[in-house]
Structure formats: structure tokens, C-alpha cells
């Protein structure tokens, strides 16, 4: 299994990737996912996150098999 990570909009562009799959070892929260892909940096205030397509917080739990998404503030409508 793995943790499926997805990026959208400007973050997708700055990350240079659409998605990736992480090994679940050592990952307990959304914050941990962010740290793995950002060399230990804390999750920034200007982004939002979702777990399994529902809004989450940096300390929300993440399990093996989950889909975790990071994206900027939304601008629809």
C-alpha cells in the first residue's frame, strides 16, 4: 500500500508534479506527509489540505491507503 499525494493549481505548478505515492512508514498526520515531500518543513498557513476528499487539518490522522491533497485557497464561483 501507499499514501497517494495530490497537488492542485499553483502548488501543482511550483511542485512540478501532479501526484506521488509515499511509503506510509513514519506517517501519522497530514503534517508528516508534508514534511516528507518538503524536507521537514512545517505545513504553511497559505495552503489547504484534504484527506480522502474532505478538508483536514495539519494534525488530522493519515493512514495507509489514504489520499492526501494539498492546494491553495480556492477561487471558484
Amino acid at each position: 500500500m501507499s499514501i497517494h499525494v495530490r497537488y492542485f493549481a499553483s502548488l501543482r505548478e511550483t511542485m512540478g508534479r501532479i501526484e506521488e505515492r509515499l511509503s506510509p512508514e513514519g506517517i501519522v498526520t497530514v503534517s508528516d506527509v508534508w514534511k516528507v515531500v518538503h524536507q521537514g518543513e512545517a505545513f504553511p498557513d497559505h495552503l489547504l489540505c484534504a484527506v480522502n476528499m474532505a478538508y483536514a487539518k495539519p494534525d488530522s490522522p493519515v493512514q495507509d491507503g489514504d489520499e492526501v491533497a494539498f492546494f491553495p485557497f480556492v477561487t471558484g464561483g
Binding site: 492542485f8 498557513d45 476528499m53 474532505a54 480556492v74 471558484g76
Partner: protein
């Protein structure tokens, strides 16, 4: 709640007329309809905008819109609801969003539609990239609404 994401332009009025016919004549049963239509303008912040790219998070968009509809339903119990939102490439004059709610009395429908557009703007995972001349940029935030109190950073509770 009927939710449609459209990659092609749609005529909100033709769509509304069809929606109201199915499965019965909606407005004859629920006399009040409150509608909001957001259209791509040809100008933003004083500059001509040529086109818009609307990205979204497939499936989360639909889930979040359904969650919004259910929450709004608690405080403004409307009878029938419709959200149509464009995705992809959009040019000025094209409809971006259509929200409609129907109820027996006006209070529920008006309240529901206004809360729905407000929540959609703050929570539904859509992102706009504007093309102005040769430059394109991501729109950073939506303009604020009509004083309805919405958390700036939504979280799952």
C-alpha cells in the same frame, strides 16, 4: 442536490427550464425560486481578461458541494437544489456558476442560495487561472461576500 460540472459552455436559462420540467413542474409545487448566476466578465481589476482556466479536484468537488448543500439544508430547508459549475477553458460572457434552490416560501430559497454561493466560493475546490494578454496568473483569493460569516480556512470538524 443535483450537481453538474460542465467542460463546455451552457445556457443557464435553457438548463433551468429543463431542470424545472423534470420530473414535474417544479415551480408549480414550490412557488419560490432563488437563483444566482456568476458569469465571466471581460474585465477584472481594470484590465481586460481574455480567458480563464478553471481547474478543480474531481470527485472532491462533488463531495464538498454535497456537504455544503446538506449543511445549508439544516438552516434553510429548501426542497430542490441545483449547482452547475464550469471547468476548463472559459471566455468572457460564459456562465461560470449557476445555483438554484426551490422552496414553498421565499425565505428558505433566498437564504439557501446565498449561503450556498458563499460556501462554494470559500470551500469548493476550484481554482481560476486568468489569461491577460500574454500573461497568465492564478487568482489568489475570492472577493468577500455579503457579510455572511464563513471561516477563512475551512476544516473538517
Amino acid at each position: 442536490m443535483e450537481i453538474q460540472l460542465s467542460e463546455t459552455p451552457f445556457d443557464p436559462y435553457a438548463l433551468l427550464r429543463d431542470f424545472e420540467r423534470e420530473p414535474d413542474h417544479l415551480r408549480a409545487h414550490f412557488g419560490a425560486a432563488s437563483l444566482f448566476i456568476g458569469t465571466m466578465r471581460d474585465f477584472n481589476e481594470g484590465e481586460a481578461v481574455e480567458s480563464l482556466w478553471l481547474e478543480h479536484y474531481p470527485r472532491m468537488t462533488e463531495h464538498e458541494l454535497q456537504r455544503i448543500a446538506q449543511e445549508v439544508q439544516q438552516s434553510a430547508p429548501f426542497k430542490r437544489g441545483l449547482i452547475v459549475h464550469r471547468v476548463g477553458h472559459i471566455v468572457p460572457g460564459e456562465t461560470i456558476v449557476l445555483i438554484g434552490t426551490w422552496s414553498c416560501h421565499r425565505a428558505e430559497a433566498i437564504t439557501a442560495t446565498s449561503r450556498m454561493i458563499e460556501a462554494l466560493k470559500h470551500r469548493a475546490p476550484f481554482w481560476k487561472k486568468e489569461q491577460r494578454g500574454t500573461k497568465s496568473h492564478w487568482v489568489e483569493s475570492n472577493t468577500s461576500g455579503s457579510g455572511i460569516n464563513v471561516a477563512s480556512k475551512p476544516v473538517k470538524t
